[in-house]
């Protein structure tokens, strides 16, 4: 009964995602059709990849931290991205962003972000205890530090340069080309598939550390792998389209709401579907309603922010 309901809802979500994909691809269809379709397919793939990676990483991250209002952005990878882009513009001017090869920028950014996450994890890996709270605290502190550095550089930068930089700091799929897609997909898809091996262990980890160990989960090992997985997915997604802070939080919680299950497998699938609906829907609205006057992240963050407030207020009344 409960199971059946979950299957139906998951089916509807996937269908909805498919519908939005079709809407985006085919409506309206006029002009140079081959060109339009190629362009749109790129964007759809970019959005699907990013949306899936963020949804996946967020559900995993919330499971291992046992907290459903955290997002992986708390470990400060967004701020690494912003700092790096700002430094590039600061030292070499905004024109570098156009001239530097997109792939090289992607690779360097991903390497930097993953490197940052691994350095951060070292504090955790070296000690015998898996002190996640310490990691989160470190992440917040480092994120704030990088954020302040970024702001500092942006304040003293040439205003014209800043305008050029700004377009990099909002999430956007317009700059994603085929080569980037292959790079990003080649990184994200294998990592996501690898993570599926641990989906059952994550079910037990959702009960908390002590219960997970009691049930025979090799807790320390699984947590470390999942943290690396989260870092890779977030880094790749951010480097591909830019920072989208709220998206993960939003879609993970919607999927918890919709599916009446603790199982991470269906929850991840639902979150991915919701994520695609959301991101692609926002892109659709942005392109064909606001005609590019509003960045996607503004739409996503606006809806995400309202939902976040609702969540906080609702949790309060539940206690």
């Amino acid at each position: 009964m409960k199971h059946k309901r979950n299957v139906v809802i998951l089916g509807i979500l996937l269908l909805l995602a498919l519908t939005v994909v079709c809407l985006y691809l085919f409506v309206p269809l006029r002009g140079n059709i081959a060109y339009i379709l190629r362009l749109r397919t790129h964007k759809v793939l970019a959005i699907t990849l990013t949306g899936a990676a963020i949804a996946y990483a967020t559900v995993v991250f919330q499971t291992i931290t046992n907290n459903r209002i955290l997002t992986p952005s708390i470990i400060g990878m967004d701020s690494v991205y912003q700092l790096f882009q700002t430094i590039m513009v600061f030292f070499w001017g905004s024109t570098t962003l156009q001239f530097v090869d997109q792939q090289i920028n992607f690779v360097v950014t991903v390497v930097l972000m993953i490197g940052f996450a691994l350095v951060l994890y070292q504090a955790l890996f070296r000690k015998d205890g898996t002190n996640l709270h310490f990691l989160l605290l470190m992440g917040i502190v480092m994120g704030t530090l990088f954020g302040s550095l970024t702001t500092f550089l942006q304040v003293i930068i040439d205003p014209n340069e800043y305008a050029g930089l700004q377009s990099r700091l909002f999430a956007s799929v317009s700059r994603v080309n085929a080569n980037l897609l292959i790079l990003g997909g080649g990184l994200m898809i294998p990592v996501m598939l690898y993570g599926l091996r641990y989906v059952r262990a994550l079910d037990a980890i959702a009960l908390g550390r002590d219960h997970a160990i009691n049930l025979g989960v090799d807790y320390g090992r699984v947590i470390k792998r999942m943290l690396v997985l989260v870092a890779v997915l977030m880094a790749a997604a951010t480097a591909l389209v830019g920072p989208i802070t709220f998206l993960g939080l939003l879609v993970a919680n919607i999927s918890y709401h919709m599916l009446d299950t603790y199982r991470r497998g269906p929850l991840i699938a639902a979150a991915i579907a919701v994520s695609v609906v959301f991101l692609l829907g926002a892109q659709l609205i942005m392109e064909r309603v606001f005609v590019y006057s509003t960045p996607v992240s503004v739409i996503v963050n606006f809806i995400g922010g309202v939902y976040f407030l609702y969540l906080v207020l609702k949790e309060r009344t539940a206690w």
């Binding site: 002590d210 009691n214 989960v217």
Partner: protein
């Protein structure tokens, strides 16, 4: 059999266990008692690999605890700590099904479902198996967690303060179940208890800890005595025998709290 030999554990500069050695016999109910901060819960956590020990050896069926694969050990030893706040919403049945996780990794067979049904029946939870944990009373929830541990079907069952926050009726109910698990199912039960009288009435063996050391160990008859307990708890503890059970009448002890 669980053998603890010369085990020590420190949290930072604070040493919570000093050179602790004890044996847990199979098929018996062993209870750890002692004042707050004596190291009872820490010892239980070490014995169940929830915490790593600093020194010494802990042998479970002859093999050092660190040598066991975690999932293998999960089929032999179960631990239940006292925190029962889950971040996910589960029904009683779903929780108890987790007890089969060490065997199935979440894919239940028909035998597994039977084991779950038996565990639910043993703890009298069949009527509320479909309810969510957050809809239950403290006693029911406690029973649900014990059912999970029971479904895990391990030789050793370790429980950290299973009577916490339970009223008299439910406390007795839980202790009877503990006794039954040892007597009827042949399990080895290790408990941390605060109430000396429950320890006296239901244990085969009692180990008293004080300041991280084993202060005394023995049967209830040997241990529940004014001189032994008086020294451990640093207060006067008169003892009466009521219905064949040694009961501590400590409620109006004059030396308590140094008064």
């Amino acid at each position: 059999m669980v053998k603890v030999r010369g085990v020590s554990k420190s949290f930072g500069p604070k040493r919570v266990l000093h050179d602790v050695s004890l044996d847990i016999e199979k098929g018996k109910v062993t209870t750890l008692i002692g004042p707050n901060g004596a190291g009872k819960s820490t010892l239980l956590s070490l014995m169940s690999r929830l915490l790593p020990k600093d020194e010494g050896r802990i042998l479970i069926d002859g093999r050092e605890i660190g040598q066991w694969r975690s999932d293998e050990l999960a089929r032999r030893l179960a631990i239940l700590k006292q925190t029962h706040n889950l971040n996910i919403r589960l029904t009683v049945r779903e929780l108890v099904e987790f007890g089969r996780f060490p065997y199935t990794q979440g894919r239940l067979t028909r035998e597994d479902r039977e084991m779950v049904d038996q565990a639910l029946a043993y703890l009298d939870l069949r009527d509320i198996a479909g309810k969510y944990l957050d809809q239950l009373s403290g006693g029911q929830r406690q029973r649900a967690f014990i059912a999970m541990v029971l479904a895990q079907d391990t030789q050793y069952v370790l429980l950290d303060e299973p009577l916490n926050n339970l009223d008299m009726k439910h406390a007795v109910q839980i202790m009877r179940i503990m006794r039954g698990m040892a007597d009827d199912l042949g399990k080895t039960v290790v408990l941390v208890l605060h109430d000396v009288n429950f320890a006296s009435a239901y244990s085969d063996h009692i180990v008293a800890l004080k300041d991280g050391r084993v202060a005394a160990a023995g049967t209830p008859d040997e241990l529940i005595r004014s001189d032994v307990l008086g020294e451990i708890y640093e207060m006067e503890i008169p003892i009466e025998t009521v219905g064949g059970c040694r009961v501590c009448i400590y409620f109006t002890g004059e030396q308590a709290a140094g008064l």
